[in-house]
């Protein structure tokens, strides 16, 4: 078997092992359950409110949007934070010291982040379907759209997340990603229709993947008629694919360059220097 195939398999098994570990670890379990519970509670209280201009439940409209947000969050934030943490603690350096270890590492992180995101999506979707009768996953098209949006969403966000993770010097700087993320979520029509926002904010939000992921998920789960409250009275599938595809291409072009540069700089002393810094912060 060729070394690359061996490394790819090792990466897959590493991803699986780490995904399993994420279910037995208090910190990651909290990461799965806390946002899910909060979102479900919010939507539960929004269930009586109506989407402006319709008789449709705002809670039911919010659920698919939060699925899109979850995908974006997984691809961008989870990827970036895993990368910064594992660079600091030396995991990445171990991969570098192993033949084809970096390739295996990359495969494992794609597996892990996709798995974690999928789990988060399922955790929201299943109770959501029980909570809101208006949501329908009863056609093959709906399932395909859901799977397609998820797939394109991961490809669009994970490489960009990896770029951010490589550029951040340490895990304590995650706020540099979290704050703009929060801002984008607030303006991307996740919790309230984007058409209520001023025009320039709508324009800004439509540059980033979060809005499109929310829109894509809504198109999968909401009745056709709900397209009427969206920009252009349409689900805009082509535009969704174009914008997310653009992010995917940009990420896939940039990520290898930035990741390689970051990996090249890793050495025992750079890890030791970061440890020193982190220790100083602790004491």
């Amino acid at each position: 078997m060729s070394p690359m195939v061996v490394a790819a398999r090792a990466g897959l098994s590493r991803g699986r092992i780490e995904l399993r570990q994420s279910f037995t670890n208090a910190e990651t379990l909290w990461g799965y359950l806390f946002p899910t519970v909060v979102l479900l509670v919010v939507m539960f209280f929004l269930r009586g409110a109506k989407v402006p201009g319709t008789e449709f439940s705002l809670g039911a409209q919010t659920l698919p949007s939060t699925l899109g947000m979850t995908v974006a969050f997984g691809g961008l934030v989870t990827t970036a934070s895993i990368l910064t943490v594992e660079r600091e603690d030396g995991t990445l350096l171990r991969a570098k010291a192993t033949p084809n270890g970096m390739f295996g590492y990359l495969i494992s992180k794609i597996t892990l982040v996709s798995g974690m995101t999928l789990v988060s999506v399922v955790l929201l979707l299943v109770p959501g379907l029980f909570l809101f009768d208006a949501l329908a996953l009863d056609s093959a098209t709906a399932w395909l759209t859901l799977a397609g949006v998820m797939l394109v969403g991961m490809v669009a966000t994970m490489p960009v997340g990896a770029v951010f993770g490589s550029l951040l010097s340490n895990p304590r700087n995650m706020g540099l990603i979290m704050l703009p993320m929060m801002g984008l979520i607030a303006t991307s029509g996740i919790f309230y229709p984007i058409t209520a926002m001023p025009g320039w904010l709508q324009a800004v939000a439509q540059v980033f993947p979060i809005y499109w992921l929310g829109l894509g998920m809504r198109s999968a789960l909401l009745p056709e008629a709900m397209a009427a409250v969206e920009i252009g009275d349409s689900w805009r599938h082509l535009e969704t694919l174009l914008v997310l595809g653009g992010w995917a291409v940009a990420g896939l072009v940039l990520a290898p360059v930035v990741l390689r540069r970051m990996a090249r700089r890793e050495s025992g002393s750079s890890v030791a220097a970061r440890r020193e810094k982190a220790m100083q912060r602790v004491t």
Binding site: P3, V6, E86, D89, R94, P99, N100, G268
Partner: protein
């Protein structure tokens, strides 16, 4: 024997054809900005040899080892590890190396056996007729003495046990060259002793070349066939612990005072010097003291002076001794 830059001038450039040579470093230079960290390091190592790179903090030990590991680009000089320039080493070359990194808290959620099996799997395609890779996991765990802890999580191990995991990771691919950077930093004496036993066991099992860095003279003496003393960016002395100590203690320090002024002189022939001294100054000589320096004394002086920024003088003295 390599003493310092320029002391060894290899006549043949094709050292890699020399089958016994696993490490070949000639005139290695490293400069960060305007600071020279390495100013011409040269040494060689043969298959199965254990080399200790000894020197005070900041002497350039880690820089040297990281260049050899292929983790850091050098500014100048020639380096070959297993016949390959580390700056251009491919994955096959990497599969023949073992690197024991300083651990911190990576892979804390992994179980020991699980982690070793995983990291070992990358080496399987690089098996050769001579060397079957990777090491059988249970056998490896036994060699490093972790059998009882094989199913524990790495994060739950003690410092010494955790270090054994690091060593096991370093050797899981049955390396031909093993790099150990400060392997016992932060160890208590018992853990240190156990670690030394482990290294001895390793050199018994495989014909592995080991290059380790340490600032502990005692450790270098216990583990290494050959000690290289690195200071001021150069190797200022090298040899077995025995050779070094014999050569350095051949030199004695003569102290005396004359007319209230104190004098110090280093000489290889203390008796002759003192005879001469009395012949010249007779009764004026007072407070005479002749002292042979032990290896540790001399090394400690070197370290102290280096740290207080007066390295050059001592380095020169050391070189004189070594010559």
């Amino acid at each position: 024997m390599v003493v310092s830059a320029g002391a060894e001038t290899p006549t043949s450039t094709g050292s890699s054809t020399d089958r016994g040579t696993t490490l070949d470093v000639h005139d290695l230079r490293m400069r960060y900005g305007s600071t020279d960290v390495l100013t011409g390091v040269s040494f060689r190592a043969r298959r199965g040899e254990v080399l200790a790179l000894l020197g005070p903090n900041g002497a350039g030990k880690t820089t040297t080892i990281e260049i050899l590991e292929g983790f850091r680009m050098r500014s100048g000089g020639r380096v070959e590890v297993l016949g390959t320039d580390p700056a251009r080493g491919d994955e096959r070359w990497r599969s023949r190396l073992g690197v024991v990194l300083q651990s911190w808290r990576d892979h804390g959620r992994w179980r020991v056996r699980e982690l070793l099996a995983h990291l070992g799997s990358y080496y399987a395609p690089y098996s050769t007729e001579r060397t079957s890779r990777p090491w059988d996991v249970d056998e490896l765990i036994q060699v490093v003495g972790l059998t009882e802890h094989a199913d524990k999580k790495v994060g739950q191990l003690s410092g010494g046990q955790r270090r054994r995991v690091d060593v096991a990771i370093g050797i899981v691919g049955r390396p031909e060259v093993l790099f150990l950077d400060e392997p016992t930093a932060g160890f208590d004496p018992a853990a240190r002793r156990e670690f030394h036993d482990l290294v001895h066991r390793l050199t018994d099992i495989d014909d592995t070349t080991i290059l380790l860095t340490t600032h502990d003279l005692d450790e270098a003496e216990k583990l290494a066939d050959r000690i290289l003393i690195l200071a001021g960016g150069r190797i200022i002395a090298s040899g077995s612990a025995d050779e070094l100590s014999r050569r350095i203690s051949a030199d004695a320090e003569v102290r005396w005072s004359r007319g209230g002024t104190r004098f110090v002189h280093s000489t290889g022939d203390a008796t002759g010097f003192v005879r001469e001294l009395f012949a010249q100054h007779g009764e004026d000589v007072a407070d005479l003291e002749v002292r042979r320096a032990s290896l540790e004394d001399t090394y400690m002086t070197l370290v102290r002076d280096h740290e207080s920024g007066r390295a050059d003088g001592v380095t020169r003295a050391f070189e004189e001794v070594a010559r």
